[in-house]
């Protein structure tokens, strides 16, 4: 009956409501399953929100659902990458941006620590060499604390 009244043109209370686009809930379910996997097997999951058919406002609503957690971080490489923990521990929003601050893609990462925050093995392998180089440099030309 409600639907009928809507087709007759009356502005039904629910007609234009944003949650009617209905993309938030399935993603929340997906996150829940990913959390279960993380806890059970340690398997990490990344969800590319760019691939979601979001309607206007859907993303904002999803973020509101997820809330804001304690950790915020940014990685400065090829432009900024902004990391925000959500109110659900282990669920992260990772916003990859280019040098012009345009979003490249937006991931939800379900992991203890987002991948991009961790030092990469290749970089780690060069860590000591880098430190040595800096110490050598430092001895001849000591860095000034700014």
């Amino acid at each position: 009956m409600e639907q009928l009244s809507v087709t007759l043109g009356s502005k039904a209370p629910c007609a234009g409501k944003p949650q009617d686009h209905g993309h938030t809930l399935p993603i929340l379910h997906e996150i829940r399953h990913a959390l279960e996997r993380l806890i059970a097997t340690g398997e990490e999951t990344r969800i590319d929100l760019n691939a979601m058919p979001f309607g206007p406002g859907d993303l904002d609503r999803l973020r509101a659902w997820l809330g804001t957690g304690e950790v915020q971080a940014s990685v400065s490489a090829m432009g900024l990458t902004l990391i925000q923990e959500t109110a659900i521990p282990g669920v992260w929003l990772v916003d990859y941006q280019n040098a012009d601050s345009q979003r490249l893609t937006l991931h939800i990462e379900i992991a203890p620590v987002p991948e991009i925050l961790r030092p990469q093995p290749q970089d780690l392998a060069e860590a000591i060499a880098t430190l040595d180089a800096r110490m050598d440099e430092g001895q001849s030309n000591p860095p000034r604390p700014s």
């Binding site: 639907q3 009928l4 809507v6 087709t7 007759l8």
Partner: protein, 220 residues
């Protein structure tokens, strides 16, 4: 012509024109065939006029009399269900209403899609039931011809392809929609040459029936 889109456009374009032309030519030929035959003058003193009883029968014959309903309830109910279902899907589904508006400029309100969807599902079930009935009931077995099965198949496929297209169960979609349109076109093409003509002539038949009975003082 290998692509799905080309197929869809063919069904929406040239094939639709062809189907419509054959349908219109066939149907009007059929109507001309009927009306030009005429009736002989009737000199018997009538008890009542013909027009009103004829018109009444056009409508009243839609409902079975209680005795027949009792004796052939399955036949009647299933027939009813799928006819009504088919009509609802045909006339009150938004895309169909738009098609009619596009062709004839007449518009009417349509039903919400979920309602039409449910109706279509019921129609499909009822159609299957009619087939089972035709295959198992002795009378229907005896009087059924190839044409009956052909017509059933076409009608069923029209509804089925529509259902599949709506639910996007066939991919790519242009193929699904094209199949539906093509089936509808086949239906249009065979309509004037098969028992499907009853969609139009049943009203004429009922009128003649009502008129003949009415003239003798019986409301048929």
């Amino acid at each position: 012509m290998s692509g799905s889109m080309e197929f869809l456009l063919w069904t929406k374009g040239p094939m639709f024109d062809i189907a419509l032309a054959i349908f219109a030519i066939g149907l009007f030929a059929r109507l001309a065939e009927i009306f030009l035959l005429g009736r002989k003058p009737n000199y018997a003193e009538p008890r009542a006029g013909e027009w009103l009883p004829g018109l009444r029968t056009v409508f009243t014959r839609t409902i079975a009399d209680p005795g027949t309903f009792q004796r052939a309830s399955f036949n009647v109910v299933v027939g009813w269900v799928w006819h009504i279902g088919f009509l609802i899907a045909l006339l009150l589904f938004v895309p169909h209403a738009e098609l009619i508006k596009g062709l004839f400029g007449i518009a009417w309100p349509a039903l919400p899609n979920p309602v039409v969807d449910l109706v279509t599902a019921i129609t499909l079930i009822a159609l299957v039931a009619t087939l089972v009935h035709r295959l198992t009931h002795p009378v229907k077995q005896r009087i059924s011809t190839i044409e009956d099965y052909l017509v059933w198949t076409v009608v069923f496929l029209v509804v089925l392809t529509g259902y599949l297209a709506y639910h996007r169960l066939v991919n790519p979609y242009p193929v699904a929609l094209g199949m539906h349109i093509l089936m509808a076109e086949i239906l249009l093409i065979i309509l004037p040459f098969t028992k499907l003509t009853h969609i139009f002539t049943t009203f004429i038949a009922r009128w003649y029936n009502g008129a003949a009975f009415g003239r003798k003082g019986v409301q048929s």
